[in-house]
């Protein structure tokens, strides 16, 4: 404790400073020696290496992970692309080299020269890309005359190849060259100009699995720019392989069924939430995004009124129409507004206030209970039920069943749909809720909007006993060596707000839709398969006023959207399907047969039965 006696004085500091000065001097000696070593002892050698800037880097692109369907069928792989580059520093005399080159690959000299002109600012040892994907013939021509073409380098790069043209295009997505904004963002730090990145669908969402890691090598080149020695190599690491949940057979069948119409088909395993098919029509060829498309091709894609670039399964919002009656029925039974025996009389219309609300069947359904109401899709029954429930109770059940918010599928920009409440309308329009609007909502019209995927999740939840699963598109991820990186487990997103008893009644009703001769989908039934479902016919309003359409087009535009949701087998469901056909007319005739075919394909009924051509009456 005699510290204060030992207070540091300036003399003590001076002593220490002298020591420090010696340390500094010693360190500088070290640096001087190193400088002398590099510049004087090794100077000659390093000068030689600097003369031609001999040591260069060549990067090798990783090959991107492949994509398979659930059964291991290859959907997407990579093919070699031969890219023609020129290194200006080595290519002297440039004019002469370019002249020869243009002759060998049949590209006008001016085009090559303008490419070079554009890239002149880049330092002259860096390769300039002249032409991508020159093909094997041009490659052979160049390889043979290699010594006549100084500075010309052909790079072999893996290029994305979508094997099944147009198949699952909206799900798989596509690659495209990275743009300036993306290069500057935090997300794409590791990327460089000219890299291809996933821009849409699975290619985008699972980019981190697929991308792999760039490799490269340090080489010493001679005056011609040819590699004389490889100093160091870092192998590129290929990306990881994805196994999707879709079944290629079912997917292709769904797409074939949608041929020529705008619409969507989605199917999933109701026990796991795994998506078995996700088809949106019309589709597009993903390869043109990778290989580069012309202006006309792009215009054709974006100006097509059927919106081929839109994934209608998740982006398309439609009035759910009669498929929504499942929700109305659940709400009414759970709230004890009705029970299994409650009947209403349907004369073909229902009077509310001073308006008449019509049933789709002008002759009426006579006395209707809940089973019959679902099977024959009686509107009058649900008008009355809806009126008794009131909008807010009805909406509460719809929202609790997962409608009105995204399902959480691993794809971008999923639409939320819309389930209105009295409060929502007041906030949105400033006008109070009208009693009549509840009637429309109860049969899935009015403000109600849902995506085909939301209705699929609902159908699955009914099928599996009330579990709302998050739709999964990724089954597993494997390393290039074949070991499992990730195995997606099913994810419970919620439960249907429904008791076991109620659900039994609903399921009975849905079974009658297909299996009762009066059911709306009776004519679409498949012998030997036990299917349940619900039709829907969504009235279209408004749209038609756009643009100048011909009468025929106008008539088409006013046609209803056709819905069908289904699951099979009824007792132990293995597949749930949701179908929408835009302006297809009635759900029973336009959508139900598609769903049936998809289910048949899934169960392998395809081979022995003849294709559709089933006569269907026009009731919804």
């Amino acid at each position: 404790m005699t510290k204060y006696l030992k207070t540091a004085d300036q003399d003590w500091y001076k002593q220490r400073l002298v020591r420090i000065a010696f340390c500094v001097a010693g360190t500088f000696c070290l640096i001087f020696m190193r400088l002398f070593y590099l510049q004087v002892i090794h100077g000659e050698e390093l000068r030689r290496l600097s003369e031609n800037n001999c040591i260069r880097l060549q990067s090798t692109d990783p090959s991107r992970g492949m994509i398979f369907d659930r059964n291991g069928k290859l959907l997407v792989d990579n093919r070699p692309s031969f890219d023609l580059n020129i290194v200006l520093k080595d290519a002297k005399p440039i004019e002469q080299t370019v002249k020869k080159l243009s002759k060998y690959i049949h590209v006008p000299e001016s085009e090559l020269l303008s490419k070079i002109e554009n890239e002149k600012t880049v330092s002259s040892y860096k390769p300039i890309l002249l032409k991508k994907d020159i093909g094997r013939d041009a490659l052979a021509a160049i390889e043979v005359r290699k010594f006549d073409l100084p500075g010309v380098v052909v790079d072999v790069k893996p290029r994305r190849h979508y094997i099944e043209r147009q198949t699952a295009a909206h799900l798989i997505g596509y690659l495209s060259e990275i743009n300036a904004d993306e290069l500057n963002s935090e997300e794409y730090q590791e990327y460089r100009v000219g890299d291809y990145i996933g821009k849409f669908g699975v290619e985008k969402i699972f980019e981190s699995f697929l991308q792999g890691k760039r490799g490269g090598r340090q080489v010493e080149v001679n005056v011609m720019g040819q590699v004389v020695r490889i100093l160091k190599t870092v192998d590129a690491q290929p990306g990881q392989n994805l196994y999707l949940t879709i079944d290629l057979n079912v997917q292709k069948k769904a797409e074939a069924l949608l041929e020529g119409v705008a619409g969507a088909v989605a199917a999933m395993d109701p026990q796991t939430g795994q998506i078995l098919a996700l088809a949106s029509s019309p589709s597009f060829d993903q390869n043109i995004f990778v290989d580069g498309m012309s202006h006309d091709q792009w215009d054709a894609l974006v100006s097509n009124p059927l919106r081929p670039l839109e994934n209608k399964v998740i982006h398309g919002e439609y009035p759910p129409a009669s498929t929504f009656k499942v929700i109305t029925a659940i709400a009414a039974l759970e709230e004890s507004v009705i029970d299994k025996k409650t009947t209403f009389y349907c004369p073909g219309y229902y009077k509310f206030g001073n308006r008449v609300y019509r049933c789709w069947k002008p002759a009426g359904h006579d006395n209707v209970n809940i089973i019959k109401a679902l099977a024959e899709s009686c509107d009058v029954y649900f008008y009355q039920v809806g009126q008794k429930l009131g909008i807010d109770r009805l909406s509460m059940y719809a929202i609790a069943s997962g409608l009105g918010s995204p399902t959480g599928i691993d794809l971008d920009h999923e639409a939320a749909g819309l389930i209105p409440t009295a409060e929502w309308k007041k906030r949105r329009t400033g006008v109070a809720w009208q009693g009549g609007e509840t009637l429309s909502v109860a049969i899935g019209q009015g403000f109600d909007l849902a995506t085909p995927l939301q209705m699929l999740v609902l159908a699955s939840a009914v099928a599996n006993g009330g579990n709302i699963y998050k739709p999964l598109i990724l089954k597993s991820v494997y390393s290039p060596e074949g070991s499992v990186i990730l195995e997606r487990k099913k994810q419970l997103a919620g439960k249907l707000p429904v008791s076991k008893k109620t659900l039994e009644i609903i399921k009975e009703g849905l079974k009658e839709v297909v299996n009762n001769p009066k059911g709306t989908a009776w004519l679409a039934r498949v012998e030997g398969l036990d299917i349940s479902g619900k039709t829907g016919t969504a009235q279209v309003v408004g749209r038609s006023k756009e643009r100048g359409l011909s009468e025929e087009e106008l008539a088409h535009q006013l046609k209803s959207h056709a819905w069908f949701i289904a699951y099979a087998p009824s007792a132990d469901p293995k597949i749930a399907v949701s179908v929408i056909v835009e302006h297809g007319g009635h759900g029973s005739s336009a959508a139900a047969p598609i769903a049936m075919e998809v289910i048949k394909t899934y169960f392998g009924y395809d081979k022995n039965s003849k294709p559709e051509e089933r006569k269907v009456a026009s009731n919804p």
Binding site: A8, F28, G43, E45, S50, T121, S123
Partner: protein, 367 residues
């Protein structure tokens, strides 16, 4: 107002030395930014001139008040810098993978550069009151440890490992200068030797790989390893007399990364050869010895310790930067004082020169 003795005692030698190094720096920078067709552009050279004008003003400013006032201001300056470091983490501009800059209109500043000064001042305040012949014990070292580690962590988070390390090295040098008690020193050394392998054991594979690559750039032949080779070729190819001003080929073809900031020494060594490198290093050595001499002549501990801190900053930056370009050290982003391009770096260095001049010309004022 201006005491005549200040004029009499003004340290013209240090100012002249600074002037010489700055001139060499501007020449090299001119070459680094003009002789290449790609990469940095000529405008950087003019920007650097403007920065030096501002830096000159900052230097003059930091020489007019009595440096002893800093003893009182130190906590405020330190708190402000910590605030800026937090601010830059949250709202800083994102450039090339890091958040280091606060953008204010046309200029952006790097608070991490200014943090070096703040740490020097706050530690000088603390140590000048506590230093004793026996050295500081563990309990006394706790406060300076916190004072240095907080800005270090904030800077490394940006991430800017180079500047963070400089902050730690400055703090470490100042602490060693005021002496650590023998037993405490043993404690620190033993606990370090125990924890380092332990930490290593708990690191994940990729973290280990990153550290190994950092220590040995050859493990990354496409990145750091390549840069070191190119830098060594550039320096070595200068040989004894260099290739001549604006004649450097490695530089001209943009072979060097960060040729106007971190690797600027390679440009100088390629064009001016061993002679040029020797002269620059000689000037730096003189500058450092001069700084230590100012600390030596100062008659009170606060000034001495500040002078030591500033000198330590210059020393470590020069040593790490040059050793790195010559392949003696891992690649870290540390600028070469007076030579590298960079506004915040220029201003910080000029403020430091101002403080050294300040201490130097007031060394006779002692009571």
């Amino acid at each position: 107002m201006i005491d005549r003795r200040f004029v009499k005692h003004f340290d013209w030698g240090l100012l002249g030395l600074t002037f010489l190094i700055v001139c060499l720096g501007l020449l090299t920078l001119y070459s680094a930014v003009t002789s290449s067709t790609a990469g940095p552009q000529k405008i950087l050279y003019f920007k650097q001139l403007v920065w030096y004008c501002i830096g000159l003003a900052a230097m003059i400013f930091s020489l007019f008040f009595n440096y002893k006032l800093l003893d009182r201001w130190a906590p405020i300056i330190y708190a402000m810098i910590i605030f800026l470091l937090v601010y830059v983490l949250l709202f800083g501009k994102y450039v090339a993978g890091a958040r280091r800059w606060i953008v204010m209109g046309p200029v952006s500043i790097q608070p991490s550069e200014l943090a070096k000064i703040a740490v020097i001042i706050i530690l000088a305040r603390y140590y000048s009151k506590l230093a004793n012949i026996g050295g500081l014990n563990l309990r006394e070292l706790f406060t300076p440890f916190v004072l240095a580690i907080v800005p270090f962590i904030l800077i490394v988070k940006q991430p800017d490992l180079g500047t963070g390390m400089i902050v730690l090295l400055i703090a470490g040098s100042m602490t060693v200068f005021v002496k650590i008690e023998r037993r405490s020193l043993l404690c620190i050394i033993t606990s370090c030797t125990i924890t380092v392998p332990l930490v290593w054991f708990f690191l994940k594979g990729y973290q280990k790989r990153r550290i190994l690559t950092f220590l040995n750039p050859d493990r990354d032949p496409l990145g750091a390893g390549y840069h070191v080779i190119q830098s060594k070729i550039a320096i070595g190819s200068g040989m004894i007399s260099g290739k001549g001003f604006l004649k450097g080929t490695q530089n001209a073809l943009a072979f060097l990364p960060e040729q106007h900031t971190d690797f600027i020494f390679s440009v100088l060594a390629e064009e001016w050869g061993f002679i040029g490198g020797f002269i620059l290093l000689g000037l730096f050595l003189m500058f450092i010895i001069w700084g230590l001499n100012i600390a030596y002549r100062c008659r009170e501990p606060f000034g001495t310790i500040i002078a030591v801190g500033i000198t330590a900053m210059i020393f470590w930056q020069v040593f790490i930067n040059i050793a790195m370009t010559m392949g003696l050290m891992p690649i870290v982003g540390v600028t070469l004082p007076f030579i590298s391009y960079g506004g915040s770096s220029v201003i910080t260095t000029m403020i430091c020169v101002g403080l050294l001049l300040n201490i130097s010309m007031r060394h006779f004022l002692v009571e």
